[in-house]
Each structure stands twice: as C-alpha cells, then as structure tokens.
C-alpha cells in the first residue's frame, strides 16, 4: 500500500532480471497445487456432487456466517484500527502484537480459547449459562470463531491505510470547527475507504475458509454449524470425489470474492 501512495519515476522498472525467476516459481507454487486438484475433479458428476442437500446447506451456511462475521469485524475492527493508528495509547507495540495474535495462532488454539471462555463451563460462558444463553453448537458460535480469526486481517489493512493517509486532512477539518465524530464520518472514513474495503474482503475470505476454530468451538451439524470447510473435511472421509468437488467450489467462491473486490481496488489504486 505505501508503494501505491508514492508514484514511481516514469519509465523506471528497476528490477534485476533474475528476480523474475523466483517470482515465477512463487506463482507456480501457489497455482500448480490448485491445478493438481483440478485434475482430480470428477467432472461427470460434478454438478450432482455439489448440489446435494448437505453441500448446499454447507455453502449457504458458509456464506451467511462469513457475511455476519465480516460485519462483526467491521464494527469491532474499525475502532480498533483507529485507536491503534491514532489513539494516544501507551505500549502500542504490545497491544498491536496481542491484537494480531489470532493471525499466527493455529485455528484450533483459537477454538480452544473460545471454548474455555464461552463454553458452558467457561470463564464467561458459566455466567451466560445461568441466564440461559448457551453458545456452543450454535450458528452464533460459528460467527464468533470466524470473527476471532478474521478480525486481525481487517485491523492490519485499515491501520496500514490510516498510517499511509496521515492525519493532515483531519487536522484541517478540525481547525475548521468540525467535531471529531463529524471528521471521522466525513474525512477519515472516505480517505481510507480503499483500505477498509480490502480489509473487509480479506476478513470475508478468511471467514469462508475458517475450519479449526469452528470445529473446536461450534461443533459440526448440518445446516447449523457445518460450514463448507467442515463438509469438505467430512466428505473426504468417505467420498473423496465429493470432497474435491466441494473444495473446488470453495476455491472458486474465495477467488471470486478476492478477485472481484480486491483486484478492482488495486487496479483502481494503480490507475489513480
């Protein structure tokens, strides 16, 4: 992102030729395994495999929960990014490290953490249980698991955008008499809208792929907690063809989301 903010000198590519070799290998490293998966798809039965009741239920649940968790990331993540980027916070470095922790934790660890916090005997869950609220095994638990792992993606993207944008416009607006809330809605948010958009897309894509935390915290029941990644994992047990077909659906949906939203934004940033 910082690179696109500063225009490069015209006509200078500045890349040593040899750079292209490892770059190409890197691209292949990502694409060849996907192609390898494609060679195993049973195209003849592809449609029946992906339109079975359980497959459709899983796809539907995945999309719904990913939308919900992305919304949760928006509500929680934007203020977090703002405070991290602009707030007078002491120990910012450590706070950021903590906030980003789910990024590096194995998802199953996140799931355990959620389970022992919001589970029936958990730190918070035992109090919720008293008032009759049980989260484990509910769709809400899926959304919580996805939000837990996706939130850092939004915070990182947005914080980067906020830092790149700087605070000059806000300062001007403030000197012209705008109240902080007004500045936030009318200046800050529009300024970092592209960064916010890419953060939302990343969160959505990550939610779509979430597996470990969901299984550990929310369980797996068709139509309630069994998202597409869980369905893929389960089908693989008995029907590898169905698993591969569903895996392809997941890849396509994720690629569409990231490609359409993220690609367009980057293209926009370059041409701007």
């Amino acid at each position: 992102m910082p690179a696109s903010a500063r225009p490069e000198p015209r006509g200078y590519s500045g890349l040593p030729r040899w750079i292209y070799l490892p770059a190409a290998l890197g691209v292949l490293f990502v694409l060849v395994p996907l192609a390898g998966m494609l060679t195993r798809v049973d195209w003849l039965h592809f449609i029946p495999l992906i339109t079975s009741d359980s497959s459709l239920a899983a796809l539907r649940l995945s999309l719904e929960t990913a939308v919900a968790s992305t919304a949760a990331c928006l509500v929680l993540g934007v203020p977090m990014a703002l405070v991290l980027a602009r707030g007078p916070v002491r120990g910012r470095r450590w706070l950021r490290a903590l906030v980003l922790l789910p990024l590096v934790l194995p998802p199953v660890v996140g799931g355990l953490a959620l389970l022992y916090t919001f589970g029936r005997l958990g730190l918070v869950g035992q109090w919720l249980d008293i008032v009759g609220v049980q989260l484990a095994f509910t769709t809400l638990a899926v959304v919580m698991a996805q939000t837990f792992v996706s939130l850092p993606f939004l915070v990182v993207s947005l914080e980067g955008a906020l830092r790149t944008a700087g605070g000059r416009y806000e300062a001007v607006a403030a000197t012209l008499g705008a109240a902080p809330t007004h500045v936030f809605w009318r200046v800050t948010l529009p300024l970092v809208a592209p960064g916010l958009a890419s953060g939302l897309v990343l969160s959505f894509a990550r939610s779509l792929g979430e597996f470990g935390a969901t299984l550990t915290f929310a369980g797996s029941l068709e139509g309630v907690t069994r998202t597409l990644p869980l369905e893929v994992y389960l089908q693989r047990e008995v029907d590898p063809d169905a698993a591969v077909a569903l895996a392809l659906v997941l890849v396509v949906v994720a690629a569409l989301v990231v490609g359409v939203a993220y690609g367009r934004r980057l293209a926009g940033a370059v041409s701007a």
Partner: protein, 263 residues
C-alpha cells in the same frame, strides 16, 4: 489442448519441486535398508489414531524383543492412512480402526496377506464426571434437553453409533456430529456436551476427565481392528513378526489393559 496443458503444468510442477528441494537442501535418506536379517531393520507402521498409546508401547516392547530393530509410527485417521498408502507412502504394516478402510487397502492391492483382526472395541457413553443430565441408559440420550454429541455417520464411530441406535430402536438427535472421537471427547470434557458416544478405550484413555456409562445395545456395533503386512515392505519378515507380536500374548495384554476386547 487439455493434454498439453496438463503436460505444461506437470513440467512446471517438477521444476518447482526441484527448485524447492534445492532451496531446502533436503536429501532423502538412502532407501537401501537391510532386508536380510529379520531381527534388525526399520519398520514403518501406519496405525489408526486410536491405537496411538497402545502401539507406541508395543513398539518399544517389540524393539526390546528384536535388538537392532526400530519401529516408526504414522498415526492418523484410517481413511487418511489408506489414501496415503494408495498414493505411494512407504510402509511395512497397516493397522486399521475398521474393516471398511482395511477393505479399501486390500482392494487396492496393498496387503501382503489376509488381514487379521487383533482387537475389538465397543461404544460407551462418555459423560462429564458430575453427569449433569443424569445419563444412565442409552434411552436417556434421547431425553429432552440432553446435549448429545456423536461422530458423523461418515466416520467409523458415527456409523457404530447409528447401528447401536437402530438396535435400540431410537433416533438420536445430536447437537453436533463431529469428525472424530477426539472431537466428541473434547466437547464432553469441556462440559459443553452432556453426553458423547465414543469407544470404551477412549473413556479409559481420558482418565478422570469423563465417566463412562456402558450400555447393552453397544454389542450391536462391535468394531474390529484388522492388521496386515504390506506388499511393498522392504522387510517383509520383520513386518510379519510385528503383526504376530501384536496378535500374540504381549500385544493382547497391552491392548486389553487399554480396554480393547479380544478378537
């Protein structure tokens, strides 16, 4: 066109793999293991995850009884193990948690002989030690408000649960159908599930974290563990010795202590 694409992709994959190997500087260990003496050599045993504790112990016992031998294990879900074997993973012995996956292996021509059952396992109800939902019989699992967790039908413990339910003439209404016994047990241990259907050996392995409730209907779904030496073994004699060792007195003692039934 498609063939051309496949070729191009294949070639690209080879280049990539070579490049990565070069980067990592990994070298594969020489594959010329000594295949002469049946007492020495290295065995690779692919075994179901539920055998982790017992087979690790048996491996040590086997090494002690066969000086110079070394037993390495690859534990995992039986269906994973079969697909690894089908895709060329080198192994000498395969121990499956159910007949279905062993049949897959034999149908794929992987086995060196006829698989032999070396242990059995039956279902048991796992409940938190305090047994909050008051589960004492299989019928209790269908009481209103009981949060039951089972394995999904696609995995062996799930199909066993279905068989037991059918034998009892009951329809189970679980709040979650998990991918493995471990996942079911986890939900019971955390207290989020009131009851889970797992194997006797799992309840025993979990120690004081869960209590077991045996039920007669479990006899309708006895699970058998078959073992076989593999055709591609470089050390066929030693592989067969390991199979015999598991089925012999010492193997049966260790398995029995863990809660497995005799074949």
């Amino acid at each position: 066109m498609k063939a051309l694409l496949n070729q191009a992709l294949g070639a690209a994959g080879v280049v990539l793999a070579l490049a990565l190997t070069a980067c990592g500087g990994t070298t594969t260990a020489g594959g010329s293991a000594s295949s002469s003496a049946s007492s020495g050599g290295t065995l690779t045993v692919f075994a179901a995850a539920s055998l982790t504790a017992t087979f690790t112990e048996l491996g040590h016992d086997f090494e002690a009884a066969h000086p110079g031998s070394k037993v390495n294990f690859n534990f995992g879900g039986s269906s994973d193990l079969v697909s690894q074997l089908q895709n060329g993973a080198p192994a000498d012995v395969f121990a499956s948690a159910d007949q279905t996956n062993m049949t897959k292996a034999t149908n794929a021509g992987l086995a060196a002989g006829t698989p032999q059952v070396f242990a059995t396992n039956v279902l048991e109800i796992a409940v938190p030690p305090s047994n909050p939902a008051g589960i004492h019989t299989f019928q209790d699992l269908t009481k209103a408000g009981v949060r039951l967790v089972v394995c999904a039908q696609q995995v062996p413990c799930g199909s066993a649960a279905q068989k037991a339910a059918k034998a009892a003439g009951l329809t189970l209404k679980p709040v979650s159908e998990e991918q493995s016994v471990t996942d079911v047990l986890g939900k019971v241990i955390s207290g989020d599930a009131d009851a889970g259907l797992v194997y006797v050996t799992d309840v025993k392995g979990a120690g004081s974290k869960v209590s077991g409730v045996a039920f007669p209907e479990s006899s309708a779904a006895v699970n058998s563990y078959p073992i076989v030496a593999l055709k591609d073994s470089k050390n066929a004699a030693l592989a067969q010795e390991f199979v015999d060792f598991v089925r012999g007195a010492q193997g049966q003692k260790v398995l029995g202590d863990a809660g497995f039934g005799a074949p």
